[in-house]
């Protein structure tokens, strides 16, 4: 029962992040919402590990968090370079 509530709340959080991603007036808002989206997905992966009782999903969560960090840094670099030097 509690699993349904938790997954539902996380889904709502994802929905809000996606709405901001679609609406976001500036590119930077989209990068921020992507960051939040990634963090919520990490939580989802860890929850799936608990539900399926499988250790391997934790490794996926580690790799996903590393990739999410790199993604954030790369997008921020791109953002900085686009307007920064002229």
């Amino acid at each position: 029962m509690i699993n349904y509530i938790v997954f539902g709340l996380l889904g709502l959080g994802l929905l809000f992040a996606v709405i901001r991603f679609v609406k976001g007036p500036q590119l930077s808002d989209r990068v921020v919402s992507l960051d939040t989206f990634n963090m919520i997905v990490i939580g989802l992966i860890v929850l799936i590990a608990l539900v399926y009782n499988n250790n391997l999903y934790l490794d996926i969560a580690i790799v996903y968090s590393i990739l999410a960090f790199l993604e954030t840094i790369v997008f921020a670099r791109y953002l900085e370079g686009r307007h920064g030097n002229h």
């Binding site: 709340l9 994802l14 921020v32 919520i40 670099r77």
Partner: protein, 109 residues
Amino acid sequence: MAIISQIFLLLGAVFYLLGGLGILRMPDTFDRIQAGTKATTLGAFSILLGVGFAQPGWLLKIVLIIIFIAISNPIGSSVIAKATYKSYEKPTNLKRDDIKELFGGEINE
């Protein structure tokens, strides 16, 4: 043990929801970064601890993920904030702006 785990999971989900709501409702980018980072960091910690209480054998890996998130998430948001400050117009309702002197006139107008 199961009760504690479920309380942590529920709290984590609520914080994640607040993070999403903060991203949606806050009026400018910097406030969105603040709300998003804080809420998702504690949400992630809480859900990870909840899973750790349910499966104590996984605790080592979970602590590793927690350490990594605690280091990487604030760095990521700082980098986004700096890039945003450099590349877009400032919010109009600022009470004070000390960073202007750091970047001088070399950004935007």
